[in-house]
Symmetry: C2
Subunit: 256 residues, 2 copies
């Protein structure tokens, strides 16, 4: 069997510890090529760089692991790598491990998941990984063990190629994690999101702040709740955002 | 009846002609408050600014039209305005009119639609508007006439508050537009997306380029095709990206 080719990226930058953990998770499965942002790009969603040039720099290579840094966004990393780095389609695209949970509405803001979504457009089985910890050095050992089980499973039973997976780990030791749960996206929002301050020159400025509001606290099948209950949450996401139910309803009501 | 309060934003910046056209479209319906980016923010998706402060500046006001410029992304504009500009919930959030079509996969990259999606999280009936023209001064007169019909319709028959509308106009005179069509998101991707160049110092750099690939050319009910056929395309989008069909299938196949 040909060795697998695994494309790894993230939104915390190529030097993040979460990326190193993801590389460690993935290396037993094949050759790893990292193309990740030079600097942290959190909250960049599916943003792309169209009005400025982007740079690509080879950081290191050899022994089944090659690392590139790209000056652009996570989506730029994927597009640039697919055009100018890979000669053949990678077998997997893995993004992360993000330092911080990416459940619920985070799917629309997260650069980690923006990169995973982009993989779908190249028909690469893609997944974003995140840990529910904001430490710069969380313990990733349980993520690595569970992640390998998930990679085994997705190899044995591939998921649909219009889908990417959003995988969130609790920040717990392996023994305390209760298992893997296939989930749906929780309904939630961020509230009170900008804090006003005054600079030394007397001018107002604003920092993003705010807190997450869980709108379905009782839903055991929703990603955020599963993670908080000690499960690894896996959500299949697709890129067709059409609201078909509302489309059908409006077609019967709206007349022009 | 209380005058409506209409929140307008965009991703081309507060000085864009498309925004002026949207203001003209909306003013007969109520008081308009613009909170839009200082500079062009195309392709910013749902990106948000968490690692730098954001500024807000009042540009002008009076006579039912107030304009603010914000240094952040389109999503920052919405979040900041909802926290620090509005005292009551706007009746509508309109984003655009984007200079350039935003159909199909553009929904995941577009800052115009990122802002409209954000409106949903505040339970504001929200819509993004785009014209299929990349001119800096396209003729928006047909957009304004059709847009007002659509606003009348959404007032008479409100759409679901988990949904935002993605509205794309052909760049045609009013008489040549065939009508309004409720559509779904077309399946498509961008191909060959980065062009390599060499700078005067001998270093490589890359410009985003590429072209759109329509993967469903025959689908009359898909947004892109409707616009190309001369219709105003309206797609209801929601923010739950869960792929429920694949979730159900994986639940029966994946065992841990």
């Amino acid at each position: 069997m040909q060795k697998k080719l695994i494309f790894i990226t993230n939104d915390d930058g190529y030097r993040a510890e979460g990326l190193a953990a993801l590389v460690e998770m993935a290396r037993p499965f094949g050759d790893v090529v990292v193309v990740a942002p030079e600097e942290a790009q959190s909250g960049m969603s599916s943003a792309l760089t169209s009005r400025a040039p982007v740079r690509l720099r080879k950081v290191s290579g050899g022994n089944g692991l090659t690392v590139y840094a790209c000056s652009g966004t996570p989506v730029d990393c994927v597009k640039l790598a697919m055009t100018h780095v890979f000669n053949r389609k990678p077998d997997f695209l893995f993004s992360g491990i993000n330092h911080g949970i990416n459940t619920s509405i985070a799917v629309i803001y997260s650069g980690t998941l923006g990169a995973a979504a982009e993989g779908v457009l190249y028909h690469i089985p893609s997944a974003g990984f995140s840990i529910n910890s904001y430490l710069s050095s969380p313990d990733f050992s349980a993520c690595i063990r569970y992640g390998r089980q998930i990679i085994d499973t997705m190899t044995a039973h591939p998921f649909d190629n219009h889908t990417f997976l959003n995988i969130n780990f609790p920040a717990l030791p392996y023994e305390q994690i209760k298992g893997v749960r296939l989930c749906r996206q929780l309904r939630g929002v961020w509230a009170e999101e900008f804090e006003k301050r005054i600079d030394p020159h007397g001018e107002d400025y604003y920092w993003m702040s705010g807190q997450f509001v869980n709108q379905e606290k009782e839903a055991a099948d929703a990603d955020e709740n599963a993670v908080l209950a000690g499960y690894v949450a896996v959500v299949p996401h697709h890129l067709d955002m059409t609201d078909y139910r509302e489309l059908e309803r409006l077609q019967s009501v709206w007349k022009f």
